[in-house]
């Protein structure tokens, strides 16, 4: 490990790339999250009904239907076969996320993401312990439990507690006590379990992860030869288990982060001062030549 491991996470990247350069994707993500929320708020706030509805189901420009496939799937499990409009909407959403990356939903759209990010930021600042760390697969079990409960009760069960749709619906239609739900997620992530909600439990994220298993948009540790082991990417990545296979892979191992858990947030790209990571597609397995070889070639030529 280099000495820089002692610096606070991200300091080196800020020094090398400037604050903006070291927060490029973070800023873009916040913009994207605000953009998607704003689309839904234009109607109720300014009477501009480009998009009506909520994340669970919406209509854009009076025409394009979009439906949350997981909500609809629970409805089917509960015994209701939906009308064409909802089915079409769900298929469009499924196709989009299957193509660009399922958990792109998590880091670029989901309104809970800024909440859990904030919890993690504070958690870091306060230097709190990791806390309870259930297996990452717990969210898949919870997803199965949500579908099971839907089938059992004949209702769309997860929607009774889902903080994602609750927060979104709350912002667009009126909160009620949905704040309590969001606060609970924040406190859980802050005090009980680091990265607990989005990283271990949320079945919505798990579902979108499954949807994007074969998706195109991928982060590649293309320049992994330049890695100086500062470990900053591990520190910022909400799903740090996905990095090693790509970053630590030997020659012949793909530099692509292919795990469906990767949220395509781009934090690893931002935080790396030597630009190891980059966005690309899943068929681009190029690896940059290690700098040693370049140096060697140069020294050989010089000799």
């Amino acid at each position: 490990m280099s000495e820089r491991a002692h610096l606070p996470t991200g300091q080196e990247a800020i020094r090398v790339k400037g604050w903006r350069g070291a927060h490029r994707y973070l800023l873009l993500r916040r913009l994207s999250q605000a953009f998607f929320l704003a689309l839904f708020l234009l109607g109720p706030w300014f009477g501009l009904w480009w998009v009506a509805g909520t994340l669970a189901g919406s209509r854009t420009f009076g025409l394009l239907p979009l439906t949350d496939p997981l909500v609809l799937l629970q409805g089917v499990a509960a015994g209701h076969w939906p009308e064409m409009t909802a089915l079409t909407g769900a298929l469009i959403v499924l196709a989009a996320y299957a193509l660009i990356g399922g958990r792109v939903y998590c880091s670029w759209v989901c309104p809970i993401n800024p909440v859990t990010d904030a919890a993690h930021w504070l958690h870091d600042r306060l230097g709190l312990p990791k806390g309870w760390q259930p297996k990452r697969s717990a969210r898949l079990w919870l997803l199965a439990a949500a579908l099971g409960a839907s089938a059992l009760t004949g209702t769309i069960a997860w929607e009774a507690v889902n903080p994602v749709t609750m927060l979104h619906r709350g912002l667009v239609f009126g909160m009620g006590f949905a704040w309590a739900m969001v606060a609970a997620v924040f406190v859980f992530d802050l005090l009980v379990s680091r990265h607990g909600w989005c990283g271990h439990l949320c079945p919505v994220g798990a579902f979108y992860g499954l949807v994007g298993t074969r998706s195109l948009l991928r982060v590649s540790a293309r320049n992994r030869a330049a890695c100086d082991d500062c470990m900053d990417c591990y520190a910022v990545c909400p799903e740090s288990q996905v990095i090693s296979p790509a970053l630590r892979g030997g020659p012949g191992d793909t530099p692509l982060i292919l795990s469906p858990d990767c949220t395509n947030c781009g934090r690893c790209i931002d935080v790396c001062s030597v630009d190891v990571f980059t966005f690309t597609h899943r068929f681009d397995a190029r690896v940059s030549a290690p700098p040693e070889t370049v140096n060697n070639a140069r020294s050989q030529r010089a000799a």
Binding site: G79, H80, A145, G154, A157, G170, F173, G174
Partner: protein, 263 residues
């Protein structure tokens, strides 16, 4: 020489333990969720579902809580239930008649907006909607029942003279007036709530209730003799002797006598 493979039992045991723990957690979480979701199935009496809504149990499996019906209602009748603040399952659409009633739009925009069929697209005539049934719950305070001519609930009804009528009877209190009793006919009442909304009393004397509270139900095997006879074009059972009705008059001698007072 091959090294002896490492013993696998502890691995397998750990795997089984992890799986068992996850399955256990999953069962607990699932049951908690099921309990919560079941809990949310109780719809308060004053919360009415939009026109065309499937029966409550089917509705909860169909409605994705998108709010499109709410957005397309031109009278802002519908609301999405807020967590902890309103009664119905969180995020589902409902209205409270006394606050804003359903104006029974001809083109039923709420149903047209629903992407899932939670509001049944088969409903093409708003007069066929059954959001609930109006019941004149308080005859002691209804002004018409007191013998006045308020008539407001009757006049605002979009299905006037079919869903609600004024039934005239003798006013025994004054002895020489009439009572015009607002009377709801469930077969035609849509449950729009305009009558309840418009009732002039501080607390409405006529209220729209969900059918499960407003209505009784006849047993399957009950037959109404007069209907059967009409359908049959004569008595259903042949050879029934119709005994003359006994009318109490002066000639009538009861088989036993009540003891007289003072005896």
């Amino acid at each position: 020489m091959l090294a002896t493979p490492p013993p696998r039992a502890p691995d397998r045991r750990r795997f089984l333990k992890e799986t068992a723990r996850m399955a256990g957690g999953c069962a607990v979480a699932g049951s908690a969720l099921a309990w919560l979701a079941r809990d949310a199935r109780a719809l308060p009496a004053q919360a009415l579902r939009p026109p065309g809504a499937l029966p409550e149990s089917a509705f909860l499996s169909a409605c994705i809580r998108c709010g499109l019906c709410v957005r397309d209602c031109p009278y802002d009748t519908l609301k999405l239930a807020e967590l902890g603040a309103d009664g119905p399952a969180t995020g589902t659409p409902y209205f409270t008649a006394r606050e804003v009633a359903c104006e029974m739009c001809d083109d039923i925009p709420c149903v047209a907006a629903c992407p899932t069929g939670a509001l049944d697209p088969a409903l093409d005539d708003i007069d066929d909607a059954r959001m609930g049934t109006a019941v004149l719950v308080d005859q002691e305070n209804c002004l018409n029942f007191l013998g006045l001519r308020c008539d407001v609930c009757y006049r605002v009804c979009p299905v006037i003279d079919e869903a609600i009528t004024l039934e005239m009877s003798h006013n025994t209190r004054s002895g020489h007036h009439a009572i015009f009793a607002p009377t709801v006919h469930a077969a035609r009442c849509t449950g729009c709530g305009l009558c309840e909304k418009s009732c002039v009393l501080p607390e409405a004397a006529i209220k729209v209730l969900p059918a499960r509270l407003a209505r009784g139900a006849s047993a399957d095997h009950y037959r109404k003799g007069w209907e059967e006879r009409e359908r049959n074009g004569g008595p259903v059972v042949e050879g029934i002797i119709d005994l003359p009705d006994r009318v109490p008059d002066s000639a009538f001698e009861p088989a036993f006598k009540l003891p007289e007072a003072g005896q």
